[in-house]
């Protein structure tokens, strides 16, 4: 290995990189000119002046459901919908339940329900509005998600006309608060294995619900500990001594008047949690609880009076996944809410980092602003890039969701694509939100630890987003299985030339404008095998190739390693799979990262109708941000690129130097980039992000300046040296 890093002339290297960054602006300018961006160009000389058109970018980020989001933000700006820190959990539960009534009064929660019942049949808009609630209080978001997004949506999507007419009005009005009783103490993400049974009794034409053992208690259910008077209960449907698998049943659980459990129903309070304490999570169990036959939510499976089972979907497996698939909106909305929380976190930390001064460095008197420190940039600015990527990716996910649920594009394949996309993006965005909130907290020091600055509360609330609505690792495993099954179906005997285009198409399939991406993918193929210079790294095509290549190579390797499984015993096959589990999940993560990158790139280069309003200066800033995201991914996985001969050691080091310089270039625009998120002080509500820190710093500097001028400042004995 001779191509190791030459550090003999770092200055030249830095200059080359700066030159590349200038060139990137030049190229963008030419590109913009040829695209006819016209008089919105920010400069007339050869280099475009980087700037951020905050107003335009803010509108662009609001996306398709801008009006709904703005309406929801007006609502979340109202103090009565916001979290009060320091309440006990019984008080907090009380408050959030009251807030749900306000949501009903304000018509915020009926968009997804049928027009015939007073809704709007607007699925994308419903989720967009719902996500915004996270900035008021994540407990409010999740509690209303339980009521209308899970309990109500299960009746809507798994039930039929009778259920809609009978149950939805009470659910919509909150007259009937309800639990979504799927998870059991013994089974979370593995829903197929739940223990609760619903056995049909032909004699009385009733289902009899039973909890056979402690592990089959329903658990962690919002509305179960206190407020719920009904529940959609998932149970193994048994009739004529045959188990037809998991189905959903509408089950009254409490007397609405007294609040007592109905006969045969029991439960427990889950008590205090790490967060989301405005929600009354609890446990439920059933002993010989009888419900009418009609309470089976029978859209995908029914039992006749005589106990005969029927279903429009023959395969029990497909039926199960079809039923569960109708509930994908939970994952979609967690993805969006996590992006919103990351935006709030960065708004706080970047605003504070732009005002707070600490340690004198280049001056005898003036301390440095935190965000001018390289490390502070390295901690926050890549997270800003990822937040933009996740935001654009979420917009694509929400659009796909709306297309499927509105019926505009609702084939089996569309539904599978939606589920895979949600399973890929939700893990990345929920983890990203937690990491961002934590980094923001630490970057704000002790101030970040105070409840009044919100970072700790949001982090505590969002913690569970990583494991509920599908554990993140389990979801990534689902994504990987989809990648592998597509691979084996299409390339069992294919040559490598076909393979080479495979994952590119995979990625394209997941995005909204797949045709546009497909043709870009074609361009990649013409470029050759590795990025050949620092300059090339900033080409979108080079980034795409590096990211795509990694996914496709990993999938192919795993597929090869697992090939013998079909000839092995079930036990040995499971062991073989387990030997590659970490690699499998890493491949899914790489795929999901590529999807985020594609979404960011699509937002930059996509249809003229959407991006034509982008001025050249804004395009420069957003392109730097996209490059930072893309090359940041390459940097994160640098060992892979080196081990697999995709980057030489020299090029690999250029990646790190380049991302460092990109962060420094973006730094002056960081405040504008968080401003474009569009959250005002009424949403951010952090004492340190209100300008208070700036006022304190100014007061302190004025004090010393005036004392120095007046000669009243004591002279130093001798300036202490810093360590």
């Amino acid at each position: 290995m001779t191509d190791t890093v030459d550090t003999s002339n770092p200055t030249n290297e830095a200059q080359e990189i700066e030159k590349e960054l200038d060139d990137s602006a030049r190229v963008l300018k030419r590109g913009a000119a040829s695209a006819g961006a016209g008089d919105r160009r920010a400069s007339t000389n050869d280099v475009v002046v980087a700037r951020t058109d905050v107003e335009w970018l803010g509108e662009y980020l609001l996306g398709t459901w801008a009006a709904v989001r703005l309406g929801a933000r007006e609502l979340t700006a109202r103090p009565e919908l916001q979290r009060v820190e320091g309440q006990t959990y019984p008080e907090h539960r009380e408050r959030v339940f009251g807030q749900l009534k306000l949501l009903v009064e304000n018509g915020q929660v009926h968009r997804a329900f049928p027009k015939s019942l007073g809704g709007e049949d607007d699925h994308g808009g419903n989720i967009a509005g719902f996500e915004e609630l996270v900035t008021a209080d994540p407990s409010l978001q999740i509690k209303s998600g339980v009521q209308w997004g899970l309990f109500g949506a299960a009746v809507l999507h798994l039930g039929t006309q009778y259920h809609h007419d009978t149950f939805l009005p009470g659910i919509m009005s909150l007259e009937v608060p309800g639990a979504f009783a799927m998870t059991e103490t013994g089974h979370g993400s593995d829903v197929a294995a739940i223990g609760t049974t619903a056995t049909y009794d032909e004699a009385t034409q009733e289902f009899v619900l039973d909890t056979p053992f402690r592990g089959a208690w329903k658990d962690y259910l919002g509305n179960a500990a206190k407020d719920g008077i009904a529940a959609v209960v998932f149970a193994q449907l048994v009739t004529k001594n045959v188990n037809h698998g998991v189905h959903a049943f509408y089950v009254p659980i409490r007397d609405a008047a007294t609040g007592d459990f109905l006969p045969g129903v029991g439960g427990e309070d889950d008590g205090l949690k790490g967060g989301l304490n405005g929600i009354d999570n609890g446990r439920l169990h059933f002993t010989d609880v009888r419900i009418p036959r009609a309470n089976l939510l029978n859209r995908y499976g029914d039992v006749a009076e005589d106990g005969t089972y029927s279903s429009s979907i023959e395969s029990p497996g497909r039926r199960f996944f079809t039923m569960l698939g109708t509930l994908v909106q939970g994952r979609v909305s967690l993805d969006g809410a996590s992006v919103a929380a990351a935006k709030i976190a960065l708004t706080i930390a970047i605003t504070y980092g732009n005002e707070r001064r600490q340690f004198t460095a280049g001056s005898d008197t003036d301390e440095e602003v935190l965000l001018d420190y390289q490390l502070h940039q390295k901690r926050l600015i890549p997270k800003l890039a990822t937040t933009y990527a996740a935001s654009f990716a979420h917009e694509q996910l929400l659009t796909k969701f709306d297309q499927v649920f509105s019926g505009a594009a609702d084939t089996d394949e569309d539904r599978q694509d939606l589920e895979t996309l949600a399973a890929a993006l939700k893990p990345l965005s929920t983890w990203h939100a937690l990491e961002t909130l934590q980094e923001a907290r630490e970057a704000c020091g002790g101030a970040g630890f105070l409840a009044e600055n919100r970072l700790v509360g949001l982090r505590a609330d969002l913690d569970i987003y990583a494991t509920f609505e599908g554990d993140n690792h389990v979801l990534l495993q689902l994504v990987a299985k989809r990648l592998l099954s597509d691979y084996s179906r299409r390339f069992a005997k294919a040559d490598f030339g076909v393979l080479a285009r495979y994952v590119v198409e995979q990625a394209a399939d997941r995005t909204v404008n797949s045709s546009g991406l497909r043709s870009l993918a074609q361009r990649v193929a013409d470029l050759g095998s590795t990025a050949r210079s620092v300059g090339q790294l900033r080409e979108a095509s080079a980034q795409r190739q590096l990211l795509t290549d990694r996914v496709e190579t990993m999938v192919a390797e795993i597929a090869g390693a697992l090939r013998p499984a079909s000839k092995l015993s079930k036990k040995d096959a499971a062991d073989l799979f387990n030997l590659h589990q970490a690699q499998i999940i890493e491949a899914a993560r790489a795929h999901a990262e590529l999807l985020q990158w594609e979404a960011f790139t699509e937002a930059l280069e996509g249809e003229a109708g959407l991006t034509s309003g982008m001025d050249d200066g804004t395009r420069v800033v957003l392109t730097w941000l996209r490059d930072l995201f893309g090359l940041g991914l390459v940097e994160k996985h640098l060992a892979w690129y080196l081990m697999n001969g995709r980057l030489s050691p020299k090029r690999a080091q250029a990646v790190g130097l380049y991302t460092e310089r990109l962060a420094a270039r973006i730094r002056p625009h960081a405040q504008d980039l968080v401003k474009a998120f569009g959250y005002g002080p009424e949403h951010v509500r952090a004492a340190i992000a209100t300008g208070a820190e700036k006022a304190r710093q100014t007061e302190a500097r004025d004090y010393y300046r005036e004392a120095r001028a007046a000669g009243t400042l004591p002279s130093p004995e001798k300036k202490p040296k810093r360590p």
Copy 2:
């Protein structure tokens, strides 16, 4: 680059690795035999059977202050000293204050104070006992740390006989609760820049304390919001119009009878925090507050009646750092408490992961235990290895601390080494605790989010450990500056041969038995330049070389890059430094990781007196664990090793495969390895780590087995396929 990874024959590779693991046991056996381990050998054939001697290992981990730790654990087992979840913060504060009185009654908190006042002059033991309080309630640990470890210790170490006699008895008995008023709203880690002034008034022979602006309010002080009736206040000492820098003053702040602030003193409550809500953190400010001249804690600097300043330390810089250095125990104890918290987290998650079953894989009926999944191993077992490393490193730090503070080894160099060691280890262990608590939380799913399972509460409390008592990044920067100043002092004109031994010696200097390590370091030099095979990677000498080489190369690179700074303007020099800030901090982190690795290795290979009781089987397990830690570090920084030509792509991939197999080998011993931490159910106090999950799993499996046997289990319609 031709030496890319060949994946054509993964089976052979896996076999080779397994063979290497077997060989490692063989080699250990020979080593143990020649060391005369005698009849404690676990096996008589050629391969030692890996096992864990839990009892011996438990005692070994307790370390030098075993008796103190066991005594403290008896105390923390008492419910009245433990956290009650769900209290409001006023209730929690009340409870913790009451607990402090219990600590006094039980003689837990006076060990560090002079024998003449009823203490024991036992500095190491004091910290050891204090750290253990974290398992009862981190608020209890930190609140007693504020009272006796900061407020009391400042009087002890910065004051003289008069202060000891006058103030310590009340502090020790808790008659005088006090705040440690160093941090200001405007200045945290940069203590030298605080704004509070103490100006000597010759006329009245008093110091006059003043807070000149809002940013100079003291902030985040435990005991300030409610309980404190006095404070040690850090302020710029001004006399005869000269500022002699930061000194500490004993200042009464509240009327003990009424609890009201004394004239001129004001303050605010910091309110609810992200954790540690048993502590009444608050703000203080001073307006013309007069205190007697004698209230200056005058060990390192004094003012005579006529206002003349004198100090035994001429340089203001050195004086400042000497004063601050006496307070290093805060960092030492956070290091130890973080290790204890990580041990609790892993005890919970590994116990649960060993009982919880989810998804059938290799069987039609039995679900897999979580810890048998490769990914679950990958998530938890490397953290177990790091916890062992951090635990052994902490024992060395505590020993060093005790030597300095007992006077056994108390030169300037010893003190500097202690401070550097504390500044290196505290960031790593506090971050490690947070990461471990979070991984454990997620690995326990929804159950991990319940307060009753403790992970979320501990994580919330320990969050601030990363930024208080010195922000972690600032501390690492101090470490780096020490590395660089040592480097420049010793190697300004040296050749590379000298340099090559430099950081090895650095590492050796930091450990207790430096002579032993120095000779080992010599052995490294004989080995050659890179690890040459998978087999070699498991040699301690190869790991040491890889880790040491990285530190020394990074330090040399940075030193080279910064060399022009001396010829630059202050501003340009600061800019140059800033350009390398991230790299500088990464070098410090690498150094700290090496220190942890050396401590683990020392614990394995150190003096016969300590390790001779280790049986061969235990040595095999601990060696695997150490190798997993060491090679895990190499894996984490793999890109660096590849870019710098230290590992070929082929070898680099072997590292990952080897750590994966190491984790699998350690997996059967994981439960024993957490058992050896020695925390009983009364310390762990997590409902899911009590065997409850195992009982639930057994009940469920029995139910299905019996129903199957009795023929009462409904037959499946057709087994649903898993996605």
